[in-house]
Amino acid sequence: MTENSSKRNDKVEDFIEVMRKYQEELIKNWTEAIKYTSPVSTVDSPEFANIIKKYWEKVNMEVSEAMPQIAKGDDGSLQKQRDLFVSAMHAYSDMLKEFLVSPAFLAYLKQSYKDNTDMKIRLDKSNEENLKLCGILTRKDLDEINFNLYNLNKKLDRLQDSISELKRGKR
């Protein structure tokens, strides 16, 4: 084996090692992420059942009131069916609106925000580490550059403002 081909083999092995670490890290993080996102059940909560019951009764009442008209089977009956459908849709909307501010939903929302952000942060961290291993710029590096550029631009604007003020003062 020549010296050159031996160096090439070393590089290939290094690369395989980096990829192996990357895979291991990825599997570890996905496993963690799945644990984090175990669903919080709200649909079977008694609170939701009560809200559904309330609107279900309302729609049922409207249906029973409208039945005699619908049973006639004339033109008016068609309109009545249509009105009933729209009314049921609005009742469903109201039900959802009430549910979406209920403590059961808010608890779910809180958990969901937390799980999603935790998972994203973990995955980013893992990607960050792997990109570093490959010597590629990471999001954090880019953020730092952007932050420095942002601050530089702001300093420039402030300087320009000061110059303009000085000019106005001279006049």
Partner: protein, 352 residues
């Protein structure tokens, strides 16, 4: 089954097919049709100046400021319902801020940037172009929040302040947004740490849930019902285009917005600071016009009206429209009745 019923089913199916075809291919509608030129740019912001449609009146220029959530062409959505056009036709010199589309590189933009740089530079430019020292300001939604803060910090630059559907008091009852963003539920700093800028899809999902059935299923049912009405179809797709044309909110401003607004309600408490400078609403002494939509559940009317107890303006007026948050700028009724009155108010208050 009677004949009418069968006819209804056949017609219904034909309409459904037509609506389905339209939602896939779209009718190809134009938006923001009023001519303008870009007169100033700063970072991604563009300042648009609209071409006059009538003899210019002797009024201070009018600057319109829309939210940093969607594109500002909602104020010029279609020729017959354009707020911009309405003012132009009465001889106003109309400018509009287009914030542009922030990228990841803009995630550090904060309230200080929007007020003390973007807005101030825009106002400076307008005053320079018109050899004047004051402008009239119309702020819509978050743009109204900005306009209010700008008027508190630079009261001498604003001759008249008009804010529409602007969140000012965030803790009023009426909308679920402040419930979903409570401090113990939503950790906004951690959210932006994970995701950076707040993507428009996230915001749109929240807005859809304000009226879950109306904004989804019933909306399309209406389209099926009125699919043969060309005006309705065109309006529908213009609105769809605008709704789906959202922009990201820069991460740093998103944190300020949720924390200082929805969570801590700092503006009306007198605790808000911009670049270390307190925002005192009692510095607002210019004529003030508030425009609210009675059916607005994104920004409940009480939130905008919550500005009144804090300002020192002696000349205040409130216009209430029956519409919701968007209907206020594009609704037929708003354009027929309310906007002519708003323009009359501004004309009266603009005369030198």
């Amino acid at each position: 089954m009677n004949e009418t019923f069968i006819k209804e089913i056949i017609q219904g199916n034909l309409k459904l097919a037509k609506a389905f075809e339209l939602t896939i291919n779209g009718p190809g509608v134009d938006t923001n049709t009023t001519e303008y030129e870009v007169v100033f740019e700063y970072n991604k912001m563009r300042l648009l100046r609209f071409k006059p449609l009538a003899d210019k009146g002797l009024y201070p220029p009018l600057l319109m400021v829309y939210a940093v959530i969607n594109k500002p062409y909602i104020l010029d959505l279609q020729p017959d319902r354009s707020v911009v056009k309405k003012f132009l036709e009465k001889g106003f010199d109309v400018y509009l801020i287009d914030w542009g589309m922030p990228s990841d590189a803009d995630k550090y933009i904060c309230l200080d940037d929007y007020i003390n740089y973007y807005m101030r530079y825009a106002v400076d430019h307008i005053c320079k172009e018109n050899s004047c020292t004051q402008i009239s300001l119309l702020g819509y939604c978050i743009g109204g929040y900005f306009a209010t803060i700008f008027s508190s910090l630079y009261p001498k630059r604003v001759k008249n302040l008009m804010i529409m559907s602007a969140p000012i008091d965030f803790h009023v009852k009426g909308g679920p947004l402040h419930v979903w963003t409570q401090k113990d539920i939503f950790d906004v700093s951690r959210y932006t740490e994970a995701y950076g800028n707040c993507a428009p899809d996230i915001l749109n999902s929240g807005f859809l849930l304000l009226n879950p059935m109306e904004n989804t299923y019933l909306k399309y049912l209406d389209l099926v019902e009125k699919v043969d009405d060309k005006d309705y179809v065109d309006n529908f797709f213009r609105m769809e285009k605008w709704i789906n044309d959202g922009i990201s909110i820069p991460a740093r401003f998103f944190v300020e917005w949720i924390r200082d607004g929805y969570q801590e309600n700092k503006l009306v408490k007198g605790e808000l600071k911009v670049a270390g400078k307190p925002v005192n609403l009692n510095k607002i002494t210019m004529p003030l016009l508030l425009i609210v939509g009675k059916a607005d559940n994104l920004v409940p009317p009480a939130s905008t009206l919550g500005l009144l107890p804090h300002v020192k303006s002696k000349d205040t007026k409130v216009f209430e429209n029956p519409s919701g948050h968007i209907g206020i700028s594009v609704g037929g009724k708003a354009h027929k009745v309310m906007w002519p009155e708003v323009i009359e108010w501004l004309t009266k208050h603009s005369e030198k």
